[in-house]
Amino acid sequence: MSSPSKILKKDRLASFLERLLQERQVFAPVRKGEVILIREIDSPSQAVLEYRNAKESPKSVLFPQRETLFRYRAEKGKAEVDIPSGREQGRVVFGIRPCDARGLLLLDKVFGGDCRDPYYADKRANTVVVSLGCANPNPACFCLSMGGGPCSAEGSDLLLLDVGDRYVAEAGSEKGTALLEDEAFEKVDEETVALAEKVKRESKASMKPVALKEKLEEQLERLFNDPVWKDLTESCLGCGICTYLCPTCHCFDLCDEAAGTTGERIRVWDSCQFPLFTQQASGFNPRPTVKERFRQRIMHKFSYLPETQAMPGCVGCGRCVTECPVNLDIREVVTSLSEGNAR
């Protein structure tokens, strides 16, 4: 094992979280009614670590569904703009799944790059990601086929692997290594390392790979104008579930909310699946039906992002698979596209 690792006994987890909470905002899986969501916690007992995956992805911690960009006051002949102070408190995103941690890497690329997005980047710079490996991936999970894995540390500063009464904690970055300095962590022994390796092996083996022919990107380019899209998307209702729950989808809208002479410009999530997303003021819409919009979603994830960001816009978390009201399964869609024909 090359990365620094230690042991965190489960009975010492609460004290570790307690110390994190003293200095930073901690976001963790919590139970809300029947579902698990990633929310800010104020006590270690709120965190639920025996769970499959959260209903919503953790992207909202860094890219909230609604965010104020600036406030203004505008009157006849004058205007003032005020930007919310950029000082972001340190954050820990604790106990998210490895797929979601990896999803943040794509957001990093999109919101970083040549033109840095200060709202995302300021939060991100002060964020530590502690993920929790999956011993029991869901039937809908396919992280392995998207280049990640149920116990992949990619995108995590610290990866925890559950080996019974303790976690093995592997640091994936300096931020993670720094966390290992906490007194709750103990030196790792060989027996525990072997257990962790077993968890990794077994969880990987339990996953069914998505059958992808090699050159999905090329097939997609070739199939852009193919009638196959009509067949693939016929059952699509055109709602935004798949994009809103997705850990990598990041499209947004900017709008003004005014109250008299003051107001604010906000950023809100938007979805390429909505008809108005690309409709021009003239009424012309380059993506007028579900077919074009669904195609955009697939092309963006599996052709455009691999080309521009060297990473697909999908980490295989399976949310769109389980939550789609009509079970339009993205795994089947990519499989059939990679074969060059309809399912």
Binding site: I83, V110, N225, C255, M299, Y304
Partner: protein, 282 residues
Amino acid sequence: MMENPYVPFLMRVEEILAETDDDNIKTFELSFVGKADEERFVYTPGQFAEISVFGKGEAPFGMASTPTSPGRLAFSVSKIGVVTGELHRMEKGDVVGVRGPLGNGYPLESFKGTNLVLVGGGFGFSTLRSLTNFILHDSNRKDYGELSVIYGARRPGLLLYKKDLEIWRERGDLRLHLTVDKSENGWQGHVGFVPDVARSVAPNPRNAYAVVCGPPAMIQFTLPVLKDLGFGHENIFLSLEMRMKCGIGKCGRCNVGSKYICSDGPVFSQQELSHLTTEAHG
């Protein structure tokens, strides 16, 4: 580029000029409220900016002015939606927000020493006006070869920038071909569609670039004409339009294939576009 790319700076409305006889297109001349903003705003023809009407939102417009006349920016606005409707209600002295310059602009370096054919239709002419005035400026004219401008509108009353057109007509170093789809009010000029005019004018493709900007139908029929005349894909540039929001390649809506019109464009060579899978252009 600004430190926070989402926050506009302020500009004041100095002049409002009704361009068309139906009053649907007005040109707004804006001055910088802050001196520092003026210094930061270094642009080339073909770039655009997002104009904010506080409380209503933003919309993108190509600069119709040129960097050769500093201190002011001009934007032509067609009254069509929420923001543009509100802009049309504005008066001299009102303040708007501006973010920019955005996009890549026309490839002026490549154009140097070559002949240029600018083909524009309707509202899409605004950045070609900027390009034309830029080239015609005393300090630039010698850097470029022959300049032909083919510009059409549905009818004479809808031609933009009539004062510029008058001046250009008087100049010996520019060939101006105006056309309208339909004549009216004693129009003395040419009647016909832009692609047909392009064919009859038959600009020489040797050492030349063509720049096309206009409604989709015009582009669709002009490209084959340019091809017939001998213009290669790499020598034809287009300025594309799509619904935009952020203007910096993040919000995800204005892509043609893997490129964002706002940040990779809006100006693309036909060569570049031929590699893109897209529903949007031509």
